[in-house]
Symmetry: C2
Subunit: 459 residues, 2 copies
């Protein structure tokens, strides 16, 4: 339990209204969106309204040796915001202002509590978009998605969060406030600290302001649905579309398990006998869209796929509703949904899909796979029940093997969900102990007392 003195200091600094101590309220901060994780109720949740209050929280934490767990909406998928050691949850949702939209420089400046979709709504009247597009765009915060370096559906053409973060203001573990980067497209002034804090999962500093790049909204879009009788044909089509110099805005895949589950859930007329389907969207100016769609159709047909082009916005929305149903549909099959994000080079997509089928068979598990085929970023989703200890043992073995295969194929253990608690043990597989040690040195240099999100990323 936090000492009464610490609680008093927090209340004095932030006001009673920004300090949460009721047991039933604290419970909401004991977990995040990740399955199969330990939960832990924090001692206190604070909701600073400005940077000075963040600095004050850090001072109190240091004085009373309490860990700090920064948190946005808690939609993260690797256990990154769970307050493993109790202490203080630092909710950034009180700092939720869009500070500036600077259309001439194609940038926006936001506080960390801004919801991603709210930023997009605010820049839309300027004809601009903020491209990073994680599935949780309507609930996740900018601070959380920058700290986790969220990916999403548009990674292939538009990149991910780190490609759009131009500047950050950060409160360091010693309470000092620093700013790196800014509004200039070019900036090579010493180390790229902006990128170091992006994806650092709140372990190196607390982000209190973010400058992001915006881009002109594409004028036209065309969505297509391609179905295949074999995984290999689908995988080959993905590679060949890119080889044809068409970079779709999104190129999503669903395997048969996912197709059948989604259809059963949403009744939208998906072909349940298809072994795989691709949802492809090209965007840009109308001439480009026409041209690229024609290439996609040609490649899909060459690879023995059947393709259907959405003829209007309604059909397009229907296709994307199907894609967005994938996770909720799979999640309702069994009580526990273990969602992974192993990622391979695009050309190894077929190998990975086949390996996932074999792993499902080997461990006698139900695995539905969907994901961002254009990025080689798959979401094998194991449908299970956390209360079934025997099956969970097989789930853990299967997850181990999924990461092993992804690395063997030249991939990475996390394409877009981050490390948190869930993947800390796999880090040495990817980097060796020596590589992990390099990262640990950076952590120790910037947070020597280990007060920021302790217990995450490193075992």
């Amino acid at each position: 339990m936090v000492k009464a003195q610490a609680m008093e200091a927090l209340t004095k600094a932030l006001g009673k209204e920004n300090v949460i101590t009721e047991a039933e309220d604290l419970l909401c901060y004991s977990f995040d969106a990740t399955a199969d994780m330990p939960s832990q109720v924090p001692d206190v949740v604070v909701v600073p309204q400005n940077i000075n209050q963040v600095v004050e929280v850090i001072k109190v934490a240091r004085e009373f040796k309490l860990p700090i767990y920064p948190r946005g909406s808690g939609t993260n998928l690797s256990g990154g915001t769970i307050p493993l050691q109790g202490g203080i949850v630092l909710s950034m949702k009180g700092m939720d202002k869009i500070v500036e939209i600077d259309a001439d420089n194609l940038v926006a400046v936001v506080q960390p509590g801004v919801i991603i979709q709210d930023l997009n709504n605010a820049v839309a009247p300027f004809g601009l978009i903020y491209p990073p597009d994680p599935g949780t765009v309507a609930t996740a915060t900018m601070g959380g998605s920058v700290s986790e370096c969220s990916g999403g559906l548009r990674g292939l053409k538009y990149g991910v969060t780190k490609h759009y973060v131009m500047g950050v203001e950060v409160v360091m573990a010693d309470g000092t406030v620093v700013r790196f980067g800014g509004k200039t497209v070019k900036n090579v002034t010493a180390y790229d600290m902006v990128k170091l804090f992006t994806g650092a999962e709140g372990t190196l500093g607390v982000i209190t302001e973010i400058t992001v790049k915006l881009i002109p909204a594409p004028e036209a879009k065309k969505a297509m649905l391609a179905t295949f009788e074999s995984l290999a044909d689908a995988g080959n089509a993905v590679t060949e579309i890119v080889r044809s110099k068409v970079i779709p805005a999104t190129m999503e895949i669903m395997d048969n398990v996912t197709i059948r589950t989604v259809e059963n859930f949403a009744k939208i007329g998906l072909p349940t006998d298809a072994e795989a389907l691709l949802l492809i969207e090209v965007d840009g100016i109308p001439e480009v869209v026409e041209r690229e769609a024609a290439t996609v159709i040609k490649v899909v047909e060459k690879n023995k796929g059947k393709i259907k082009v959405a003829k209007d916005d309604k059909e397009r929305d229907g296709l994307w509703a199907a894609r967005r149903s994938a996770l909720p549909a799979l999640a309702q099959v069994k009580p526990t949904t273990v969602l992974e994000d192993a990622t391979v080079p695009r050309s190894r997509l077929t190998d990975m899909l086949v390996a996932l089928q074999n792993i499902a068979k080997k461990y006698n598990l139900q695995i539905g796979t969907f994901g961002h085929a254009g990025d080689g970023n798959l979401h094998p989703t194991i449908l299970t029940d956390a209360r079934d200890t025997e099956e969970m043992k097989r789930v853990h073995q299967a997850v181990d093997e999924i990461f092993k295969v992804a690395l063997e194929l030249g991939g990475t253990i996390s394409g877009e969900h981050g490390i948190g608690i869930a993947k800390a043990k796999y880090l040495p597989l990817e980097f060796g102990e020596q590589g992990v040690d390099v990262m640990r040195k950076v952590k120790q240099a910037l947070d020597p007392e280990n007060i920021l999100n302790p217990g995450k990323m490193f075992k």
Copy 2:
């Protein structure tokens, strides 16, 4: 002088042919392309042929407490490769293999000694390009340009070097070998160490292999020359082109001093009475190029500019020859050319251009300004004579003021040349002592004995 033992150890590890000790050879490594810098002859230059030899060099350096100065072609512009404390220059030009071109994944893997243009030549048959395009593309190495995070002419549309580095292999200061990143578009596995080593100027580790992203080559290009009677009109045209949702591949500016000097040097028919000119190139598929060119013409004319479209490749090449002549033309006016790269948000371009004119007047100096207008990345170029100590005093005052103004306008002290020796003293201006201290902690954590490129970046 390096102890005989150290020299013996280096010769044993690398072979006599890869260890340079002749005084007249060493002299070539005592300086780089930066004007107005101290020079220092190293004790020895080594040219490792593989990563094991790099590791051996680090072992010797640690044993004999010798500093290591990694170097590519030495074309860098902030004194970054000058061996300030003598010791070992580590030339990476012996490791110059293109390891792999993986067209299906749109990536290439190269050793650090590969010349940028050689990579572009090698990927051209696949219809691909490596977009970063510094002025020294024909001579600079991949290792050097990654370590300096080179910019160039295509930053606005295509970004700079850091946007294309996907993976690195690095020998750390303690001799361990680590690999970060790889071929996957998405990768959020712990800290973004790839970006930390990119632009670290060889102070954190020695890069021995680089994985870079490639993109499809644009099918068509159109170059245009716009001339203006006022700097403000030119600056406003730049902002309005982007506001019209056209992102040109390049958008270069030259002021009147530069125009007259280039014309005098190259006799290519530039309008010597124009106050500013813009060289604009749009690229993409032919339909897009036509459409974007039409928008550019409309915006230029609205802003009282005259515009000429290159009607064929020959005229296009002529325009770019003019742009490429800017620095050599300015450089032949006076013995010393102090080239800066202060960068501001694009919307503040006119303010910066006017400020530069005023600074030239105030300090009674000849300053020609050209640069990447679309990025807000200007190259004010002071034409002077390093032997004229009185004038050099004014040059240094002018440079101080240039950076001060750039920061006041929300810019940065280095858009693309890096810090090295030249700008170390300005770092606290941008980040405060506390921000510099964060970076220094990272340096100390990864190179505690300060053997990698000592004397750079930090005062």
